[in-house]
């Protein structure tokens, strides 16, 4: 149940200002710990909280498209879970600490496991463009980290089942003609909602209600009577007021959602490459050296020395994980 879940206890925040606090804290922490280690010019490249936000929004779009194009077809709840994980992760860590590209795939992989949409790692990386073995390594190395950052709160309550419940209720107790007409509007609304911070601020049933109301208003129907009388007929007026407030919050967030143009994103990405935490960059020398040291003790006794082969260049790892689809249309 949502009311007794960790999602409500630990991951539902009062309003956007709290989220902003969290993100700026993560950013500041990274700057404080890594700033001094970087050269002067790299330090100018450090991203601030707003730029991180823009980048994250871009990568959330990527996440959505990755899930949409997934083979075999991925149920929406898995995508929803992955979104939640992604948002939560970047409340704790800065974008420069762990690159969103890597965390993105790890979130989706973990979500498939948690939501019982079983996909083997091979099948999974087949959906990833670019070097697939490298992607596999990245995902498997990051999985435990992701779980730890989420504090192992892995159960996510998504708004999809509440939508179904509300529709059943409207069909039974409401007076609307053919509530099935609401579905396209609902889907559209929820898609947009997942790109905002709404899932971290309202309960999934409230999100579902907001979607239903929005869709209804789009086709010109009015469900207010249903909401006040039937749905909350026996509750106090304060409850009604808070619910209305929540719904209004969500709708305003969606309306004010904006996306940055592609060129800005590209510039930010370049800057990210320069200022990111190299210890977590699988392409960097430091990372490779660390892996080398970790593996070296084990492999030596078998006479195989893959790390040194890689270092000497005889064995090559591919470049880049996957290429961003250049022909991205606006959402």
């Amino acid at each position: 149940m949502f009311s007794t879940s960790t999602q409500k206890k630990y991951w539902l925040f009062a309003d956007e200002s709290e989220l902003l606090k969290a993100r700026s804290e993560a950013n500041a922490k990274f700057v404080a710990s890594h700033g001094p280690k970087m050269t002067e010019e790299d330090r100018n490249e450090l991203l601030d909280a707003n730029e991180e936000k823009a980048l994250l929004k871009f990568y959330e779009l990527q996440l959505r498209d990755f899930c949409r194009r997934f083979e075999p077809p991925m149920p929406r709840s898995v995508a929803g879970t992955a979104f939640h994980y992604f948002k939560r992760f970047y409340l704790i860590h800065s974008v420069m600490d762990y690159h969103p590209k890597e965390i993105l795939v790890t979130c989706v992989y973990l979500a498939t496991k948690v939501d019982e949409f079983n996909v083997s790692i091979d099948q999974f990386v087949r959906n990833v463009k670019g070097n697939q073995t490298k992607a596999m390594d990245i995902i498997l190395n990051n999985e435990l980290l992701l779980m730890q950052v989420l504090n192992y709160n892995l159960t996510i309550h998504n708004p999809f089942r509440p939508i179904e419940g509300l529709l059943i209720d409207i069909k039974t107790r409401g007076t609307m003609v053919d509530p099935e007409r609401l579905r396209p509007g609902i889907e559209d609304f929820l898609d947009k909602a997942f790109l905002t911070s709404a899932p971290l601020l309202v309960a999934p049933s409230q999100l579902a209600l907001a979607a239903v109301l929005h869709s209804a208003s789009k086709i010109g129907e009015n469900l207010d009577i249903y909401v006040t009388k039937t749905l909350l007929g026996d509750s106090s007026p304060e409850a009604l007021a808070s619910l209305v407030e929540a719904v209004r919050k969500v709708r305003s967030m969606i309306k004010s959602m904006e996306t940055s143009p592609k060129e800005v994103i590209r510039v930010l990405e370049k800057r990210l490459e320069k200022c990111r935490n190299q210890e977590n960059n699988p392409d960097s020398e430091i990372y490779k050296k660390r892996q080398f040291e970790a593996l070296h003790d084990e492999d030596e006794k078998y006479g195989l020395d893959f790390p040194s082969l890689i270092m000497s260049g005889d064995l090559k790892l591919g470049e880049g994980i996957f290429e961003i689809n250049k022909s991205m249309t606006s959402p």
Binding site: M1, F2, R161, P162, E164, I168, L231, S242
Partner: protein, 327 residues
Amino acid sequence: MDEQACPRCKTTKYRNPSLKLMVNVCGHALCDSCVDLLFLKGSGSCPDCGVPLRRSNFRVQIFEDPFVEKEMDIRRRVMRDYNLKEEDFANLQDYNNYLEEVERIVYNLTNNIEIVSTNQSIDRFKRENKDLIAKNRIRSGREEIILEELLEEEKILVESRKRAIAHEEMLEKKKKMRSKEALIDELMFSEQSAASIVETFKKRKLEEQEEMERHREPSPPPLVAATQFSTGIKFSQRIPKDGFLPVPKEDDTPLFKYEPLVLTRNGPSAPTWEEVTEKKYINHVRESSVVERAGGYLPQLACLRALEEAFDGLRTVAVARWTGQVA
């Protein structure tokens, strides 16, 4: 096996691993053939330390270290006199002091420290607690006999079971052989065709098997050790079965009481199971196929779950503040 060799004949130990080492009160070991040689007369002296020994004092060595054997010997001797139990003491402190005293004595005697004074304290103790020692000796004697009787009974049970199983197997084997021979005889001497003979035999075998299954003979009751005279008077030392067993303690823990689950739902309440069908919610849910219903799935389940999730949490007001990194 022992890497040690007998100190006298050294060679014989390696060649014959079944040769056992015997140890005496002085702690030095000898293989049993050497014991025979040296103690032909009945008494002699230890080849290592020259202490006069008797042949009867030799015991089969259990531990590799003769020092341990010596200590075990001494301990056994001491414990024959120092056999007081916890109940004989006023408080725990006294009992512990007594135990420490025992250990001190054993240690001294084993390591040849202050032998004279130690023996004196042993004699003193014996004199002071003569009746307690005697009483305990009788009590322990009784317990030992009871244990022995129990062990005897167990052994007899196990043996009789083994015998029964062996007997059954033998019977089976004999039967099989007999039927085989009968088949061969028939094939040789009868005038019917070979196929029909084989058929009849097969049928008979199946019938026999079914009969066996139906009348499984109860195994004969295992022989019980004789514990009573034919008149019914028991002559074992054991406490009778319905004797003075310890009184079972009163269990004061509260009994389990079922309390129905209380769900905190931050929203309007969902309909109950019956209402789902009565009020026609169910009409808007896909009907379950026969296959699904066989697995226990009913459409009411899905309907109720959707409705509950829709209503749960509608009145939630998020108040959490960001307080720093989670974990």
